[in-house]
Symmetry: C2
Subunit: 160 residues, 2 copies
Amino acid sequence: MTPDQRLVATAVAAWKLNIERAEKLFFALDDTQLDAAIAPGKNRLIYLLGHLVAVHDGMRPLLFIGERLHPELEAPFLIGADRAVTEIPSATALKAMWREVNDGLLAAFAKFTPDDWASRHNAVPEADFAANPLRNRLAILLSRTTHIGYHLGQAQLAPR
Amino acid sequence: MTPDQRLVATAVAAWKLNIERAEKLFFALDDTQLDAAIAPGKNRLIYLLGHLVAVHDGMRPLLFIGERLHPELEAPFLIGADRAVTEIPSATALKAMWREVNDGLLAAFAKFTPDDWASRHNAVPEADFAANPLRNRLAILLSRTTHIGYHLGQAQLAPR
């Protein structure tokens, strides 16, 4: 393993660890438990689960992996706040999408080279990237890893 | 900037962004506001502030930067849960330590080479590191970055 391969493998391992932590928390809960709010008047656990799937699905176009697999998650889990959209997928369906989306990302990451990670992501124009080469694909991976932690910290507060 | 320098610069930028987010949240609150719990019966904001300073101070020995600057924070903010230790530093004192510790880390990071980041951290023995080279200093930086996010997500829930 070259030094730069080791660096990106470390970042992918950190991502994977947080995916596993979230999976452990959400998958242990049934539909009733997932319907609980993390604190009075705050988001429900099922919203956080759907939100994470929707955000991770959005990493596919951002990292040039492909189109979103589930664009129908954008309205209830990205654009709208919790409870703004009343018809949402079931917990069982969201858990299946979680596996599909996150397994797909990991399979794609396994083929990324260090140069791929250091390259422009899809939301930054070429000219802007030339001016700021830190707006790369690794930055997306790190930001989305911290984003899992952000909502895991909240999910951990929910009464069981 | 070489590709591996770009990768580690991206990770340091992600750390810095989360430090700034936390600083923006905590520094805007006065002593009374920091005394609020994030949710009924949960940690107070001042505990999260002290906890983050204590964890970041612990990165100094872990990353071979130096000894802890404030070992006195371990008892109230690392070993004990919130309210287990009744005498804790004031919010003003914790904010000053926040600056001291985090500015010191950033100054140290500025001197780290990609090879430094890919090297063993201080809590993993040489033999274990040979078997698992992902237990490196970058892994600590990424884990502590996600840790800020974890508690920021919680802090964001506190009533203002």
